[in-house]
Symmetry: C2
Subunit: 242 residues, 2 copies
Amino acid sequence: MEPKQPDGSRGRNTGARRRSRLSQAVIVAAAQHIISTGGDGSLSMRQLARELSITPMALYHHVRDKDELLMLLLETKAQNVSRPPLPADPRERLVTSSQLLYDMLADCPFLGEILSSEDLMTASNLWIIEAVLDAAVDCGFAPDEAVGIYRVIWHYTSGELMIRLTRERRLAELDQPPYRERVFADIEPRTYPRLHALADRWTDLTARQTHRKGLEALVAGFLRGAGTAPWPPGHADGHIAG
Amino acid sequence: MEPKQPDGSRGRNTGARRRSRLSQAVIVAAAQHIISTGGDGSLSMRQLARELSITPMALYHHVRDKDELLMLLLETKAQNVSRPPLPADPRERLVTSSQLLYDMLADCPFLGEILSSEDLMTASNLWIIEAVLDAAVDCGFAPDEAVGIYRVIWHYTSGELMIRLTRERRLAELDQPPYRERVFADIEPRTYPRLHALADRWTDLTARQTHRKGLEALVAGFLRGAGTAPWPPGHADGHIAG
DNA sequence: ACCTGAACACCGTTCAAGT
DNA sequence: ACCTGAACACCGTTCAAGT
């Protein structure tokens, strides 16, 4: 009985050829490698094929189209996200669970083209959306209202992420170094040592805080009954209605 | 003294040749024609050149790049938007002026690539952004806070528009007819005559209402002091700071 | 100054053929 | 079943040349 290779193939004639069989797992791994090393999160099928030394069309035998590949990347990311305990207070839970969605997607610079979907649902992140809806219901909102609130939160979150992603890509293609270098261009590193160490996370951190302020305002406003008019019909269309 | 043509040329040898000199105005008009007739708002430089029977590169003599062309289209749109009276009450004014921004951009299906900019400022729409900031200041917020609130409103608005635009483009490229046909596919037109007449505006109307609910919640939440922590530094960077 | 022609450096995807 | 080669139908933009 021969030992199997990690990819499940026999490995007899593979030797140094490294001719690992193509699979979704291999494709996803290569995509992640490009994203992590290439700088900005933009990704093309042809670039990915080059990385794998195959024809672009070989990819389409394991993946329906580019959107499916991106969703696959999101799914693997979602699988590796730990599931923290949520606050008991419904109101805090609504804010915190919404921010969880934000945090997860903020770490997915490849989303680009699909970030403007009506929802971004994959098997392993459904629990977050469920948590948002559940918190809204526990706040006293009817199911339809909860869906409406989720939609508003999603539009807000998606817009923030999209704008940030676009800015970073624009900067990347101008060959500008990331924020760190620009923000602290004329500042001595030793002047603010802690700041300097955190600089490459700075924009993300402030963006996160600003986003949270918006979330808190939204939740506070909805709880206060702002917009007492009923939700317009049709807002709850789609997969999560009911 | 010969009479001048509208485009400023002499018009002597133009005759039936219709060889109108290329200019920003001509380019913008052609772009608007494509958008209004072509269905979805997507627009390419090559397509535009084809419409004008010129080389794609001729465009670049009157316009720096595609982004500038899109901003030009937004500017002409903004020029033709009437400036309604705003409510005296600061809180209502904050909601209404934000919705004005939404309404204007919702009627610009060509924005696509630049909708994820940090701001979408052109000479003729600055008064709207000014009105939002002014209303926020009149609500009692410090200038920095007003900018932060504008940012949140912009992220929310931009996200909503982007998602809607993407959905409509996806439907358009599937050759699906606009919402009207689909929503009312199995319903007798005479059953709901008024609804049927408004059907092609329905999705926009409900989207508008939903967006307004979000705006009202945001404003109510901010006025209630939600997110009492100070705005993180850096949120007021950019053109409108100060 | 204004425009053309040809090219560069890309895209996502289809289709027929190979093994 | 899995992959290749060539092609289709596009992009935005640069560059050198024409008038």
